[in-house]
Structure formats: structure tokens, C-alpha cells
């Protein structure tokens, strides 16, 4: 095993796939000599050249559309949107083009494309550079949606995404880029659509994903000191979602809390809660399901406010105690 940052795990996944498959290439704004806004692609243009690490005009509709067009005509593009908020300026491509083609063209056109983008807040960038928009994407059949929480998951899932024959939205967590974790030296992949139990426990299930995984794990550590044993499930892939992993855990712990950084209303917490409530696992619950999510506001600038709208360890600890009371 070797230690690596989340950003470098992403870079290594892309670089390995690019070395293996000439049809894999990258497009995005300032991903060449600038190294990408978050430094993910450092050194790649030097290794692969400008023909495969392509700096684009500030023109998301053109280059995301071009990624889709390249995918249908035989390439396996990876396209980077600098901030996930900017999906708004190429929404037609994400909503109406990439995810629809395979189905509406009778299964005869594949769109093997990965769209990587930096998601989430905590950087003081305020309302237009901090959103967590994954629920919008999960409302679009035909897309796959991944939100990795560790370098290990980021690398293994991204390699699977690049080899997948569908449009995959890969939402990277800005605040995790510099975090470190261990990965094997040998090659590995992680299947899309499989959740991971990040911490086993018997008293309460916390379902989460992305950077909130770490917040939940820290809360679980605090609770452990009080002899409360929390299970933390990292969904990793949000579409398709591994609902069976959630049901299995809730059957065991009889308590469910869902934690995400995205706003509460219309967030995936509702989907996860409903998935439990509409099955017989509902009968296993000893307390109502709780959702901890961002307040329903645009992300505010002031750091006190930005932090204050989000779930944190204290809020999670309190919520766990409430459901167990």
C-alpha cells in the first residue's frame, strides 16, 4: 500500500487508463499547464501532450457537447467542468443529450464519457461555486453518478467510470483534494453501484457519501467513547444506488440517519428514507428516520454562516442520541 492524495489518486486513475487506451483523452478549461483549478492534472500535458490533454475555450456547451460527440464516434473522452455549478451553462448536454441517446436511439449508440467536476462547499466561494447538485443528476435516468470520499474509492471508481459505456458524472469533493489515504500499488478497480461500509456498528446506521463520510466517521468515534456503536455506510455511487446495502444495515441497527452536504429539500436523503419506508424494513425501525443536510439556502459567503448551514460532528452526535433515546 502507498499513501496518496485524493487529487493524485484521480490523476493516476486517468493517467493509467490513458496509457492503456489511446482513445481516452481529456478536455477542460485550464487543465494543461495551469494543472486544473484544483491542481488535479499536474504533469499530464507534459506526459500526454496537448492533443490528449486539451485546454478548451470557456465554452461548456461546446466542449461537453464535443465530448458526447466524440464518445458516440468512437473515443472515450473525460471532460472536466471546473465547478459543478457550471453544469448550468451546458445543462442541455447533461440532461437531454448524453443520458438519452442510448435509450432513444434504440440501444445502438453508446456514450462512453466521464464528466468530472468539483463539487461542494467549504472554500468560501459562496453561492455559485459551492453547490452539491447530485440530486438533480440522480433525477436523470441514463446517467451514472459517483461521489467518492477517499483516494482509494476515487481511483478505483474513476477507472471503472472510464471503462463504462455510459455517461458517468464523477463529482469530486473540493475539500478532499488534499486529503490522503492508502491505495494498493497494484492495479484495482471498484465496481460502480456498490456501497461501502466505512465503519461497522450495531446501534444506528448513518448513510452518507462524499466529504460528509469523514464528518460521520469522526462523530462515530466520539459516540464510541459513550459506548454507542454507529455503522457508517458510504454510498459512493448515487445512481444506481445500492439500496440493498442500506436495507441490510437498517435491519441490523433498527435506526437510520442520513447525512449529506446538499440542501435538504429534494435531496437524496428523502429518496433514501423513502426507499426504507416503502419496504418491510420500515417495520424494523425503532425510531423515526432523521435527515441531516444543508439548510435550504444558497451557500452563504461568511465562513461562520457557511459552516453553520451544514451538518457537523456535534449535530450528528446529537441526532444519533435522539434516535436512540
Amino acid at each position: 500500500m502507498v499513501e496518496i492524495t485524493y487529487a493524485n489518486a484521480i490523476k493516476d486513475a486517468i493517467s493509467e487508463e490513458m496509457r492503456k487506451d489511446d482513445n481516452v483523452f481529456m478536455m477542460g478549461e485550464d487543465i494543461g499547464v495551469y494543472r486544473g483549478a484544483f491542481g488535479v492534472t499536474g504533469g499530464m500535458v507534459e506526459e500526454f501532450g496537448e492533443d490528449r490533454i486539451m485546454d478548451t475555450p470557456i465554452s461548456e456547451t461546446a466542449f461537453v457537447g464535443a465530448a458526447i460527440g466524440a464518445a458516440v464516434s468512437g473515443m472515450r473522452p473525460i471532460v472536466e467542468i471546473m465547478f459543478s455549478d457550471f453544469m448550468s451553462v451546458c445543462w442541455d448536454m447533461i440532461l437531454n443529450q448524453a443520458p438519452k441517446m442510448h435509450y432513444m436511439f434504440g440501444g445502438k449508440v453508446n456514450v462512453p464519457m466521464v464528466l468530472r467536476t468539483a463539487s461542494g462547499g467549504g472554500t468560501g466561494a459562496a453561492a455559485q461555486h459551492s453547490q452539491s447538485l447530485e440530486a438533480m443528476l440522480c433525477h436523470i435516468p441514463g446517467l451514472k453518478v459517483i461521489v467518492p470520499s477517499t483516494p482509494y474509492d476515487a481511483k478505483g471508481l474513476l477507472k471503472s467510470a472510464i471503462r463504462d459505456n455510459n455517461p458517468v458524472m464523477f463529482l469530486e469533493q473540493k475539500l478532499l483534494y488534499r486529503t490522503k489515504g492508502m491505495i494498493p500499488e497494484e492495479e484495482y478497480t471498484i465496481p460502480i453501484g456498490v456501497a461501502d461500509v466505512k465503519r461497522e456498528g450495531k446501534d444506528c446506521t448513518i448513510v452518507t457519501y462524499g466529504r460528509m463520510v469523514h464528518t460521520c466517521l469522526n462523530a462515530a468515534k466520539q459516540l464510541e467513547e459513550e459506548n454507542i456503536d454507529v455503522e457508517v455506510i458510504d454510498l459512493r455511487t448515487l445512481l444506481p444506488m445500492d439500496k440493498e446495502a442500506v436495507l441490510k444495515s437498517v435491519r441490523k441497527t433498527k435506526h437510520l440517519i442520513i447525512v449529506h452536504e446538499a440542501v435538504k429539500t429534494g435531496g437524496l436523503g428523502g429518496e433514501i428514507a423513502a426507499s426504507v419506508a416503502e419496504t418491510d424494513v420500515f417495520n424494523y425501525l425503532d425510531a423515526p428516520i432523521k435527515r441531516l443536510a444543508s439548510e435550504d439556502v444558497p451557500v452563504p459567503f461568511c465562513p461562520i454562516l457557511e459552516k453553520g448551514i451544514l451538518p457537523d460532528e456535534d449535530k450528528i452526535v446529537k441526532a444519533v442520541k435522539e434516535v436512540l433515546a
Binding site: 475555450p57 457537447g65 458526447i68 466524440a70 434504440g106
Partner: protein, 324 residues
């Protein structure tokens, strides 16, 4: 651009056949639609057949083509299986998209039809990417995007024009300029209605043709395809034409006069081409009648094939949401 005065007979009859096939296809669709036997909506391109036939015939067979919501003539002329296309419009399981796409999403990758599109504008960025793939793969193909005068006001048009020119992509942007965006005349939505000029700020080659003259369209696109391929450069081609059919089933033609429609019916590209073939002695009346008869049979058979085909099964709705 002037039309070559000497017309090859086989080519001429092929172009005539394609235009007739497209026209008869759409007339049948219109007829069965009026009987309530076709579901949904359709956007017919009656009157615009020379654009589709001339353009698609000038491509190499496996070049990629991205069409618009008014995409029947282009798909027919690119060589799609007519039976399967008709079955698609009749929402049958044997349809080219298994009954899941319909009139606005006709596609068949095996003949380079990468889809009619229900949204205006995306055909251009998609064709950019497709052209980029061909340039990288060195597979000898170019890509083509059809769009209309209306879509040339979309951001996607301008973004794609810029990307194609700065990246040197072998792509043809073909504007079927029928002067109406649904009901709104081009003069109400553009200060400069000469769309060809929109290539100037992008440093792109551009040309305007009489889109009702199939030979002029064919010769121009042929030449521009060669240029785009050999130079890795995009080209904007504006094909001026007119849609004599309504925008869609809801069109009451309130925005134009009967006189205007009749004026253009007189300039019907099929009628014009037949007259030319006869007057220049390129084809005989009998030969033209044979094309007429053959294309009628093809379309009649397609309707029969469609009507004899089953509907898709509800239990198959989840097929093809994702590729394996």
C-alpha cells in the same frame, strides 16, 4: 456557386429518387397522422428535400450526420432502412429505435445517422466532437450537423463555430435556412439575415447555395467535404429553401400567406429537377416515371411493414436505459 452544367445521369436519378422517397415518406406520415394512426407529433420538411438529398449524397457513406427535429428527409437520404424508420414513426418494436425514439429521434449509427434531435442547437457541438474523434482516429470520415436558421441564434451554434475553427475540426455545419423559426420570420430575429456572414468572426469558410437546386447543393457540399477533410477545417454552408408544410401538426399557417406558400410550391425542388432533367435531355419521362413508381412502392411497403409490426412490450421499458 454555379451548378455544373453536365449532370451525370445515374447521379441525377439517384438524387431524384432520394428526394421523391423523402417527399413520399413524409406525405404518408402526414396522411396517417391525419387519420390518427400516428401518435405524438411530427415536423415535416416538405419542400426542403433538395437540401437533404444533395447534402447527404455528397458525403461518404459512413460520415456521421447529426440532424434536427425536422430530420426525416436527412435520415432517408443518408440511407437509413426505410421500413424500420417508418415502423419507428408508427411506434413499433421493429422501429429503428425500437419504438422508443419516434419522429424526433430517428437514428441509426450503422449508416452514420447519429440522430434527429428534439433540441435546437446541440447538433453543432455534437458534430464537433464527432469530427474530433474522426480526426484523432484518422478513419477518413468527417461529421456534419444540420440546423436551421432559428437555431443559429442559439449559444450552442456560436460556441461550436468557435470550437470547430480554433481546433481545426473536419466538420460541415449545414444551415437549412427556411426563413422561419416555427412561425417567426428570420427578419424579426436577426439584424443581419445573411447567415453565411456568421462565419466571418470565426475565420471560417462559408458559402450560400440555392437549397432548392439539388445539383447546386450536391456539388457544393461535395467540394466543401473535400475541403474540410483535406484541410481539417470546418465549413458553414447555408442552404436557402422553404418549408411548404406547416411547422408541426399544430400549425394553422397564420404567419404566412397562401400566395407565399404557392410561390414556393412552384419552386418545388423535385418539380424543378424533373423539368431540368427533361429539358436538358438527361432523363426521359419514362425513366422519371420509373423512379416515381419505384419510390411509391418502397414507401407503400414501408407502411405495410410498419402496420404489420407489433408494438414494443411494456416489460421491456428498462432495456437500453444503460449500455452494457
Amino acid at each position: 456557386m454555379k451548378t455544373d452544367s453536365k449532370i451525370d445521369k445515374a447521379l441525377a436519378l439517384d438524387l431524384l429518387g432520394k428526394m421523391m422517397k423523402a417527399r413520399k415518406f413524409e406525405e404518408k406520415v402526414q396522411y396517417y397522422f391525419s387519420l390518427g394512426m400516428i401518435h405524438g407529433t411530427t415536423h415535416l420538411g416538405i419542400g426542403e428535400e433538395a437540401c437533404a438529398a444533395g447534402t447527404c449524397s455528397a458525403l461518404e457513406p459512413l460520415d456521421d450526420m447529426f440532424a434536427t427535429h425536422r430530420g426525416h428527409p436527412a435520415a432517408v437520404c443518408k440511407g437509413i432502412d426505410i421500413n424500420k424508420m417508418m415502423a419507428e414513426i408508427f411506434a413499433r418494436e421493429t422501429g429503428v429505435c425500437k419504438g422508443k425514439g419516434g419522429s424526433m429521434h430517428i437514428a441509426d449509427k450503422s449508416v452514420g445517422v447519429l440522430g434527429a434531435n428534439g433540441i435546437l442547437g446541440p447538433s453543432l457541438p455534437l458534430a464537433c466532437g464527432s469530427a474530433l474523434a474522426h480526426k484523432k482516429l484518422k478513419d477518413g470520415k468527417v461529421s456534419l450537423a444540420f440546423f436551421g436558421d432559428g437555431a443559429s441564434n442559439e449559444g450552442a451554434f456560436h460556441e461550436a463555430m468557435n470550437l470547430a475553427s480554433v481546433w481545426g475540426l473536419p466538420v460541415l455545419f449545414v444551415c437549412t435556412n427556411n426563413t422561419y423559426g416555427m412561425s417567426t420570420h428570420i427578419s424579426k430575429v436577426m439584424k443581419v439575415t445573411d447567415i453565411e456572414k456568421r462565419a466571418i468572426p470565426y475565420g471560417m469558410k462559408s458559402v450560400t447555395v440555392d437549397g432548392n437546386d439539388v445539383m447546386e447543393v450536391y456539388n457544393t457540399v461535395k467540394e466543401m467535404r473535400k475541403y474540410a477533410y483535406e484541410n481539417n477545417e470546418p465549413v458553414l454552408i447555408v442552404e436557402n429553401t422553404y418549408r411548404t408544410s406547416g411547422h408541426s401538426k399544430s400549425d394553422g399557417n397564420l404567419y404566412r400567406t397562401k400566395d407565399e406558400i404557392n410561390y414556393w410550391k412552384e419552386r418545388c425542388p423535385i418539380k424543378r429537377f424533373k423539368e431540368r432533367l427533361l429539358s436538358e435531355g438527361i432523363a426521359t419521362q419514362e425513366e422519371i416515371d420509373n423512379v416515381d413508381k419505384e419510390t411509391t412502392e418502397i414507401i407503400d411497403n414501408a407502411v405495410k411493414f410498419a402496420l404489420d409490426s407489433p408494438y414494443p412490450k411494456l416489460e421491456d421499458i428498462y432495456d437500453d436505459v444503460y449500455a452494457d
